[in-house]
Amino acid sequence: MTTPIKVNRIGLEPQVYKGGKTTLCAGCGHNAISERIIDAFYEMGVNPAQVIKLSGIGCSSKSPAYFLGSSHGFNAVHGRMPSVGTGAMLANHKLIAIGVSGDGDTGAIGIGQFVHLMRRNLPIIYIIEDNGCYGLTKGQFSPTADLGSKLKTGVVNDLPPIDTCALAVELGATFVGRSFSGDKKQLLSLLKAALAHRGTVMLDVISPCVTFNDHEGSTKSYAYAKDHDDPVEDMTFVPFFEDISVDYAPGSAQEVTMHDGSKLILKKLEEDYDATDKIGALKRLHETARRGEFATGLIYIEPDRDDFLTQLNVVDEPLATLPLERVRPGKEALEEIMEGLR
C-alpha cells in the first residue's frame, strides 16, 4: 500500500518548494532560514510561479538559490536589491516578492536603498540574515555588530550598531519583526504572517556565522542569541483558509486582522506589548538593546496603510504584459499634441 503524497492547499508537494543544494557552511544559520521559508510558502499554499526571489551580494544573498527552485530569482548587485525588487513589482504587482539580504548588504553599502524601500511600503518580504559580519570575505565586522563584540582575531568593535528594526519602524515599514534562525516556531509564524501582509515586511533574523562569528565574545553567536532572546509576545498565526479558533482570556492577547483575512493572535508575556504602537515599539527596542538583549517577535505592525503600488494607482493587470493598444495612444492623441506645438 502506498502512502498518499502529501500536498498543500493548492495541490503542490513540498518538493516543489525546495531549491538547489546549499553551498554555505554546515550549520550556517542561513540554511535554517531557507528551510523556514520553504515551510512557510508550502504551508501557506503560495504558487511558486508567482514568486520572485531577490538578493544582493554576500553569503545571505546566495541563499535564494537554495529555496523555491521553481521560482524566478535575481541575484543583483551589492546593496541594491531593493531597487531591482521595486522595479519588478512595478512591472507586475501580482507577483510575491521575497528579498534576502545580509547585515553588510543592508546596513553598509545598501543602507540608502534600504531606507527608501522602507519609506515606500512596497509589498515585499525583506529578510536580513544578520550575523554581524562579512562571511564571504572572511569575517570583517558589519554595521550591525554590537559595541564591544569581539572578532575571532581578537579585534573589538568600537562603533555602535545600526538597529535595522528600529530604523525600519522609524522609516515607515508596516511589518517589522526580529527573530533568531534557531527559533523555528517563531520564525515560521513571522514568515507566514509576512505572506498575509500587504506592504513592506522587514525581518531581521539573527543568523550566526559558524565560521567567523560564533565564538565567545561575539554577540551574534548561537549561545549568545539563545541567552539574550527577549520575545515581546507569544505569537499564533491563523491563516485565512484555516478555521481554527484560539482561546485566550480577555485582555491577555492582541488580535490583528491581516490584509488577506488571516489573523495574528499576540499573547502578552510578562509585560504588556502593543505591536501597533510605533513609539512603544521603538521604546522596547531601545530598552532591550540597553540590557544587551534583543527583542524578538512581531515588533511593529500597521496592517491598513496603502502600499506603494496602490498609491501609484496602476491598472489591475500587470503593466508588463499590457497589450499594445493599451500602451500606445491613438493617432488622434499624437495629432492633438502636435497641434498644441504649432
Binding site: F74, R80, S83, L90, L319, A320, P329
Partner: protein, 630 residues
C-alpha cells in the same frame, strides 16, 4: 527722369540692398528667474508664425534666480537652425552683463537696452534704441509685484515694431504660451502693445534687420528634444519609468509624466497604464529599470553624465544578465559637476564601455527633435531585441532648446518585444532551451518573465552557463562572453544606419553626430560658397558602427570627425575598429566651450587644417563665469 530723382532711386536701392531679411540672430540678455522665458518663447513663436525658419537657444546659469541668462533666437530663410556665432541684434536687460554684452558685438549690430544703463556711451559703431522699461510698465501693470515679470514682454513689443513682426501674430503666440491664464494674457498683451506703440512713436529704424512673411513653416512645430523623446517613449509603450532629477534630463521625465497623465490613464477606471517613480538616486533608477524589464515591462530612465557614472555597476549587470534597459543620456559639460547647464557630447566613451570587465553597449545618436521621437521608439525595440541596455545619446542643446520641426508621424509598425519565449516556441525547442543558449546563431537567447508560467531561471551577475546556472568553469565563461560578442556583432545591422551624403567630387569627408549636424551642414555650404571646397557627409546614428563607416572612410582622402568634446571620443572609438591606413586619414574638429557648436567655428578649423589663411574672429562671448548650485 531728373538727376535728383535718379539719385533718390539709387539711394533707395542701396538702402534696400542693405536690408537683412530673415537671416540674423537676436540675443536677449536677462536675469535668471525674471520671467524672460515667456517673452522669449513668444518672440520665437511669432517668428515661426511669420513663416520664417527659426531656432531658440537658452544659455542659462546653474541657478534658480538672479544670475545672468542669454537667449538666442536665429531666424534663417535658408533653414539653418544651428547656433550663429555672431549676434546681430542685442536686447540688453541685465545691468550686470550689459557692458560686456555690448563690447563683444560686431560693428553695425543693433541694441535695444534699458535706458538707465546708458549703453550708447560705450560704442559709436552700433545702433542704439534706449527704452525706459520701468516707465512703460507702470501704467500697463498696476500691481507692482508683477511688474518685474511683465516688464520683459515690453521688449517683444519693441522688437515687433523694429523688425516688422505682425503684432497680432505676436498676440497669438502669447495666447499659445500662456494658455488658459486669461488674466496673464491680458496683462502681457498690454505690455506688448505698450512696447510696440513706444517704438512706433519714438524710433526711426536705423538697423537693417527685418522679418518678412515667408511660407516655410506651415504645419511646423516647435518643441524641445526632451519633450520629443518623451512622446516617443509614450508611443513606444513604456510602462515603468524611474528617474532622479538632474539637469539637463529632468524635463524629459517631467514631460513624460504630463503626457502619460493625459494619454495613458484608463478612461473608465481612472487607473494608470504606467508607473513613474522618482528614485532616491541614479543607481536606484537603473536598478528599478532593470528589475522592471526583467519582469517584462518596457522601462527607462533619463539622466546626464554624473548619473551615468553612478549607473556603471548596474549597466554591467544589465549587459551580463541580459536585461533590457533604455537610458537617455542628455549630455552636459563634464568632467565631474562640470558646467551643468551647458552642452557637450562628452559621454561617448563612458557610455560605450560603461562598467568593469569586458562590457559594451549600444548607443543611438538623435540629431533632431524628430529623431529624439523616433529613436526613443527604436531604443525600446533594440533593448528588447538584444536584451541589453541602449543609451540614447542626446545633449543639452537638443534636449532643452526649442527646435522647429515637421510634425511627428504616427508609428506605422507595432512594437517588437524581441525573443520572448512562448509555450509554442518552448515546445519546438524542448530541452534545447536554456536562458542563455544561442539557438538561432545570432547570439540572442530566448527569455521568460516571472509570472508567465514558463520555466523560471535564476538571474545573476555572477558567472553562469547557457542554462543560467552558476558556473566558474573556464569554458562556460568563454562560451558566454563570446556569445555576447556575437550578439553585439548582430546589432551592427540593426542599429540605425548613418545618413550619408556622398559627393563624388569631394576628397574631404565630414563625420558628425547629434546636434553637430546643423553646424556641419551649414559649414559645408560655407566651404562650398567661400572656397569652393566640396565635402561629403556621414552622419552617425548608431553604435556599434555599421559596415558603411569603413566604406565612407575609404572613399575619401581626409576625414574630419566633428565633435563637441575635448578628447575626440568618436574618433577614438573609430580607431578601435578601423585599419591603420584608414586611421591615418582621420582628423578632428573639436568644440568644447559649453556653447552649441556653430558653422563658422567648423569652417575656420577645417580651412586652417587644409592650409588656408583664416582670420581670427571675435572671442567667445560669456566669459564671465557664474557661480551657482547644482
Amino acid at each position: 527722369m531728373s538727376p535728383t530723382d535718379q539719385a533718390v532711386q539709387e539711394q533707395q536701392a542701396a538702402g534696400k540692398s542693405q536690408r537683412v531679411v530673415n537671416d540674423f540672430s537676436i540675443q536677449i540678455a536677462t536675469v535668471n528667474g525674471s520671467g524672460s522665458q515667456t517673452a522669449n518663447m513668444v518672440l520665437l513663436r511669432s517668428v515661426l508664425l511669420m513663416g520664417v525658419p527659426v531656432s531658440g537657444k537658452n544659455m542659462f546659469p546653474s541657478n534658480i534666480a538672479g544670475l545672468p541668462t542669454w537667449y538666442t533666437i536665429r531666424a534663417s530663410k535658408h533653414g539653418y537652425i544651428g547656433r550663429k556665432k555672431e549676434v546681430d541684434f542685442l536686447v540688453a536687460m541685465n545691468p550686470e552683463t550689459a557692458k560686456e554684452d555690448v563690447l563683444t558685438l560686431e560693428p553695425g549690430a543693433a541694441v535695444v537696452y534699458d535706458e538707465p544703463l546708458k549703453l550708447n556711451a560705450l560704442r559709436s559703431d552700433l545702433i542704439f534704441y534706449p527704452v525706459p522699461f520701468d516707465a512703460l510698465v507702470k501704467p500697463v501693470c498696476p500691481d507692482a509685484k508683477l511688474r518685474r515679470l511683465v516688464r520683459n514682454m515690453i521688449y517683444d513689443g519693441i522688437l515687433a515694431n523694429l523688425l516688422g513682426i505682425d503684432l497680432s501674430l505676436m498676440e497669438k503666440a502669447l495666447g499659445k504660451q500662456l494658455g488658459k491664464k486669461a488674466k496673464a494674457v491680458t496683462l502681457n498683451a498690454g505690455a506688448l502693445k505698450a512696447g510696440f506703440d513706444y517704438a512706433a512713436a519714438t524710433f526711426t529704424k536705423q538697423d537693417p534687420y527685418v522679418i518678412e512673411t515667408m511660407n516655410k513653416t506651415a504645419g511646423k512645430i516647435l518643441i524641445e528634444g526632451n519633450a520629443a523623446a518623451a512622446i516617443g517613449c509614450m508611443m513606444a509603450g513604456v510602462t515603468v519609468v524611474a528617474w532622479y532629477p538632474i539637469t539637463p534630463s529632468s524635463s524629459l521625465c517631467e514631460s513624460l509624466i504630463t503626457y502619460m497623465k493625459k494619454y495613458r490613464v484608463d478612461k473608465t477606471t481612472g487607473k494608470a497604464t504606467f508607473a513613474i517613480v522618482q528614485a532616491e538616486d541614479e543607481i536606484a533608477s537603473l536598478g528599478m529599470v532593470i528589475g522592471a524589464s526583467w519582469a517584462g515591462a518596457r522601462s527607462m530612465t533619463a539622466t546626464a553624465g554624473p548619473g551615468i557614472s553612478l549607473m556603471g555597476e548596474f549597466a554591467g549587470l544589465a549587459y551580463y544578465a541580459e536585461t533590457p534597459a533604455v537610458i537617455f543620456d542628455v549630455q552636459r559639460v563634464g568632467p565631474s559637476t562640470g558646467l551643468p547647464t551647458r552642452t557637450a557630447q562628452g559621454d561617448l566613451i563612458q557610455a560605450a564601455f560603461l562598467s568593469h570587465g569586458d562590457t559594451k553597449h549600444l548607443m543611438l545618436f538623435p540629431s533632431s527633435v524628430e529623431e529624439s521621437y523616433t529613436m526613443a521608439m527604436e531604443a525600446f525595440d533594440l533593448a528588447e531585441l538584444f536584451q541589453t541596455p541602449v543609451f540614447v545619446m542626446m545633449d543639452l542643446d537638443l534636449g532643452m532648446n526649442n527646435w522647429m520641426s515637421e510634425a511627428f508621424t504616427y508609428p506605422t509598425t507595432p512594437i517588437n518585444r524581441g525573443k520572448m519565449l512562448t509555450p509554442a516556441k518552448l515546445n519546438e525547442l524542448g530541452a534545447t532551451w536554456g536562458r542563455y543558449k544561442d539557438v538561432d546563431g545570432d547570439g540572442i537567447p530566448y527569455r521568460t518573465i516571472p509570472g508567465d508560467g514558463l520555466p523560471a531561471y535564476f538571474t545573476r551577475g555572477s558567472g553562469h552557463n547557457a542554462k543560467g546556472q552558476y558556473s566558474e568553469r573556464p569554458d562556460d565563461y568563454v562560451e558566454n562572453m563570446d556569445r555576447l560578442s556575437r550578439k553585439f556583432e548582430t546589432a551592427r545591422a540593426h542599429v540605425p544606419k548613418p545618413a550619408v551624403q556622398s559627393n563624388p567630387k569631394a576628397k574631404i569627408g565630414f563625420i558628425a553626430y547629434g546636434t553637430s549636424d546643423y553646424a556641419t551642414e551649414e559649414s559645408r555650404d560655407q566651404l562650398r560658397e567661400e572656397t569652393k571646397v566640396e565635402t561629403s557627409y556621414f552622419r552617425l546614428r548608431g553604435y556599434p558602427f555599421n559596415q558603411e563607416l569603413s566604406a565612407f572612410v575609404d572613399a575619401h582622402d581626409r576625414l574630419y570627425v566633428i565633435e563637441q568634446n575635448r578628447d575626440a571620443q568618436l574618433l577614438q572609438l573609430m580607431k578601435l575598429e578601423l585599419a591603420p591606413d584608414q586611421q591615418k586619414k582621420l582628423r578632428s574638429v573639436l568644440h568644447y566651450n559649453g556653447l552649441p557648436i556653430d558653422a563658422r567655428s567648423i569652417t575656420d578649423d577645417v580651412l586652417a587644417q587644409e592650409g588656408y589663411e583664416v582670420a581670427k574672429k571675435q572671442t567667445v562671448r560669456m566669459s564671465a563665469g557664474t557661480a551657482g548650485g547644482e
